[in-house]
Amino acid sequence: MSLVEYSACIREGDVVIVFLGHDSMMAVRVQKGAQTQTRYGAIRHSSDLIGRRFGSKVTCSKGGWVYVLHPTPELWTLNLPHRTQILYTTDIATITLMLDLKPGAVVCESGTGSGSLSHAILRTIAPTGHLHTVEFHAERAQKAREEFERHHVAHLVTVRNQDVCRHGFGVVGVANAVFLDIPSPWEAIHHAKSAIRRQGGRLCSFSPCIEQVQRTCEILVSAGFTELSTLEVLLRTHDVRSVTLPLPDFGSEDGHTHTGTHTPPPPSSATATIKTATPPREMAAHTGYLTFATKPRE
């Protein structure tokens, strides 16, 4: 198992996603002899997980069953330990496309945070690209390093514990793309610029507040970035379901409703059933503004 390559079967040391049901999952590190408690009972790693094919149904000790899934960056995003606010898949997908990421790309990121985006970047730039990720918070940087090791992607990433606004990304002229998710992105723009190759590249800054976007755009323009584009993407999940609608009873022309005993079946209980999809009662209305820009060739 690796977060950038599929395997068929579960091995010791793997991180697997235990799928308990709709919107209920957990990430589990597989260890010989270990047990994991779920609401359906315990999963014994040695007999229930190791050697099993990813995607298998596993019966827990109480008789309930779960599926064990191969981790992907997207499943990891839903199950990772939060050390910060994280980026979710909708934004990540947009960032990945708009930064032109692909295998072989060199990317700079700050901050690493909980590593949600980092894993998605690594998946896309593997096997020949590299991620330089900078995290201000020492403990978080260390935890990220450990996760990258566990997910077998450590060779693709360099984690630096420093302040990107002061000390930049630690590399110059190598990046195809830079991503910023920091409180004052405008303070890191010149570092971002110098990190990008002289042949040009792409930049993305993620900010929750419009004032941050405004300051960032101003600096981006003055730093010579072009093709500025600020956007928002919202994903809406629809609940597919059958809905039964009663049909109105307008009565017969002679003034009686059809509910009388002599006209079965009573149409006042007549219904029509439709298949439909309904939006959620509440959904994310905002995560942040995504500002993209191009550094033209020097």
């Binding site: 929750p208 507040c209 307008f250 002679d254 409703t257």
Partner: protein, 478 residues
Amino acid sequence: MADNGDDVDAEYSIRDGDYIVLKRGEVYKAAQIQKKRKVIFEKQWFFLDNAVGELFGTTFEIQAGGTLKPHAPKQAPSAADKEAKEAGTDNRNIVDDGKSQKLTRDDIEMLKEQGLKGQEIVQQLIDNSTTFKDKTEFAQDKYIKKKKKKYDNNVTVLKPCTRILAMMYHGREPGKICHLRHDTLAQMLTLGNIHAGSKVLVFETCAGLVLGAVMERMGGYGSVVQFYPGGGPTRAGMENFGFPPHFHETLHEFPLCKVNTLLAGKLGAEWGPEASGDPQEEAPDGAEGEEEAPEETQGMEVSAEGEDSKEKERKEKCREKKAQERKVKMEEKRRKLVATAALLEGRDADGLVIASRFHPCPVLLGLLKFLAPSRPFVVYCQYREPLIECYTKLREQGGAINLRLTDSWLRHYQVLPNRTHPVLLMSGGGGYLLTGITVATETDAAAITTATQAKEEEPASKRIRLEEVDGTSSNNDA
């Protein structure tokens, strides 16, 4: 029209029996002022007695024993909404050791005993939280909301209106109003051209909220006909508006199950003043149904028991009296039905508003027949598919133009210095609307004559004329 004196304060004063809305933060609850009656709101109970005589919009503090004490104006809600917040942009420095709150439970109790108000306690909690400043804004808001809910003991008394009641229902019980969002209701009232002096048809199963909203926009002028399924119309939501009595005189009701009879022109023959119509025969009908049923069942149970003659006599009298009452009631009902039928027979209503859990297609096609040409109609449905069907059927049968199937998207913003962004959560959907305008069909020539005749017999309320303006070119009236 324009008034500015103390004399109008009466209009703004809370009186015993008034329908009101309680508010705390974004939470609303409709209630009625009833002395010595306990009200429960946000897990707190209190009495509204002290609200009487105060002005609408007053914020009260809930004191020991559930009595209300009015705040001085100004001091109240705005201040409570502004915390001196200083947000961290991420949780960079937060180490969760369970020791972030320096105030103990005892400390808080002491603050309460010292007479600190809810908002002040929340501010104390914030000031004594070592991690608050480093929390992200989202986490701060969550924290404040949680604490506020726990320690807030303010409640504001508002005058009900469509805006507030629509937000209240959508927030508390969206299922009761078919998930109709307030901005969608706004579209309905405007696209339906609901206004004073018109004759509007309403069919809704939104607890009476839509009916109330329509009546508010009519302002007591014109007439509203509420169609209803089953035993009787639902009006709780409308009652919550607390309309003055004359508004209720403009409201009429008509059972769905009589629509076909009316359309066939047979209602008059059967129910008109000439035909005496046996009410007994009508009793088990759907139009009566739910309301009457329990009473009758009770009666039958009693008569099945063995009784002595005195008791029997009493029962007999009681039964006769009840029968008499029922007869009077039925007669009243008949009279009202006939009056409502007269409003509909001309097929010249000015607007149609549908918002129900019923399949909108047959409802719309049925009720559209009562509209005059060149009048707007609006149909709300929580789901898209039934309105696609409505649209298709209407296009096939004609008689309606400018059909539009729409949905809307509503997002709120937090506007604060350097922290402006959309509010983080929004409603996923506000339902769908089908709107259109009726037009005369080819075969309308006859109908037009009928309608014009019928117009003469309409209640006066329908015809409030602004003669001084409108009459200028009446010589050209065909």
